[in-house]
Symmetry: C2
Subunit: 318 residues, 2 copies
């Protein structure tokens, strides 16, 4: 059961988690898998609003999409990270984007004559966060095979398709995420993973107000096979052209750590100066470092790069 | 004067240059500055169509936006580059995105009562290629100061605003690129660079059908202060996690060359495998290598990385 703010407190104040809304999105589902019912969720209209909530301390944690395996990096998240002051990345969670066929409890597949889904893409973030422009397209094979005579109808959001079922007669179904069946009473999943492409995953960052905010102890922890850190490096092209050791290749070499992702965004206001967001991983085989040990290790590396004259800081470790 | 296909041939067949259309976009302006009147321009609706034209040999060259200093990398261009087979990047050109106030010849600034502009953003590529969602916004200060009583009106494209002036009475002006005044007879630039932000540049790649296609000898060459190469590296995360020398950091270190840009895109069909597009620059101070010398130098480096087991190739040098 997904919490939207009605979870029962165990005496401790529930952590406030800002998510990219509306409720029922995959960001909501990711947050729920990470924090479970031990959190109070707060839906935000845009990714930057999640970061604002952390900066103003109106949220303790935030969950934002970082990249999707089809659409790539989420530009709005990277643009917020390049300017992030107080926030800190404390975790990650990856979801397979499964589209489900959902209907009112008791409705059979052969009764469905109308399928509701969100296909309209308002902007690039929508495309990545909701993967909504693919929902009907990706499920067309399923519909053609199992519901050949059904008509399709567009709704304004994924959750909107699920909510609309409550006011509709039997025979209506919605394409949406599994989390939607837990938002509204009386719905159930008829068929799961009805999309054609199973290579559709979205990876999310879990953010905290700051590096020292403690994660809830009783959260259901995802399996952790590696330690990850995110390092922010600013490269000024003018400087890079005049000196021999201020290029991104020098900063990366000095880190001397396994790199799993490099992303580049323009530095606001200065043409062709860049911010690199670099994800590093623990190279230590077998026994992994504890999070504090790993954080200290990366901080030492970052300090070395800083001493060499780079604008660099650690903006996350887990 | 910008050519749209009416240029006079000097006996040699004119190179066919595919651009991101419609005519009047900044891609058109960039192509015109690079090739001048010695080319036959062919407008394409989408970036991928420019690449298709090169792959099918229906164009000799192509001009596509690579990055903008406000919006960042152009995802559609990088997605085409990651899959590019025959094409090759042979040059670059950077334009400052200046919005001009354009009117019919003879119209004075104090006569303007209506300003036409393209503000609608259809998609992310529009946002970067046309910078159109900023046109009115960026020029609001100018309008407030110089045309405080003017009303604004939206058109479907930048060139559309300019074209519409021909059918309008005196008193109408358009916000568009300078190139638009050369597309239609009877228009002139009333004021130049009316945008608030002067840090708005777009950098374009010039592509050829293949590495050995010769650039027109009489093209107006932009000043060349450095040699650049673009290297494509595929990193499979599964492999990177099991071996100690197949991470992107190892490939970059082996290149042992100054790196000016690193961009990452998902590898189609394989979750969390990536394609890196890496721009390198000649480190040699003072006397620069010739293009063939530089190309050979980079090819040697790429060969070393290839021998170490990486999927890597050179997709441009100039």
């Amino acid at each position: 059961m997904v919490s939207t703010g009605n979870a029962i407190s165990d005496g401790q104040p529930l952590p406030r988690v800002a998510i990219l809304g509306p409720f029922g999105t995959y960001s909501h589902e990711a947050a729920d898998r990470y924090f479970g019912p031990t959190a109070r969720y707060n839906e935000k209209l845009e990714i930057k609003d999640v970061f604002h909530a952390l900066a103003s301390s109106s949220a303790d944690f935030g969950v934002v999409p970082q990249e999707n395996t089809i659409f790539g990096s989420v530009v709005d998240t990277y643009d917020a990270l390049r300017a992030m002051g107080r926030g800190y990345i404390v975790g990650e969670i990856t979801l397979r984007i499964d589209h489900c066929l959902v209907a009112r409890t008791g409705v059979r597949l052969d009764e469905i004559h109308t399928v509701l889904s969100h296909e309209q893409v308002r902007n690039y973030v929508d495309a990545i966060a909701l993967i909504s422009n693919q929902a009907l397209g990706q499920c067309r094979l399923f519909i053609a095979k199992h519901l050949p005579t059904a008509t399709t109808e567009r709704t304004t959001s994924t959750a909107g398709a699920a909510r609309a079922l409550l006011d509709r007669p039997h025979g209506h179904a919605a394409i949406c995420s599994r989390v939607c069946t837990t938002l509204f009473q009386g719905l159930e999943v008829l068929r799961e993973a009805i999309q054609a492409d199973s290579n559709n995953y979205t990876r999310f960052y879990v953010l905290a107000r700051g590096p020292d905010v403690k994660l809830p102890m009783n959260r259901p922890r995802p399996s952790e096979s590696h330690r990850t850190g995110v390092i922010r490096i600013i490269i000024r092209q003018t400087a890079a052209n005049t000196s021999s050791s201020t290029g991104i290749q020098d900063a990366l070499a000095m880190l001397n750590t396994s790199i799993s992702r490099i992303d580049r965004r323009p530095l606001a206001g200065v043409p062709f100066d860049f911010v690199y967001l670099v994800e590093v991983q623990d190279e230590q085989q077998g026994q992994h470092r504890s999070v504090p040990e790993w954080k200290q290790y990366i901080e030492t590396k970052v300090e070395e790069v800083l001493k060499a004259g780079f604008s660099v800081d650690l903006i996350g470790a887990w």
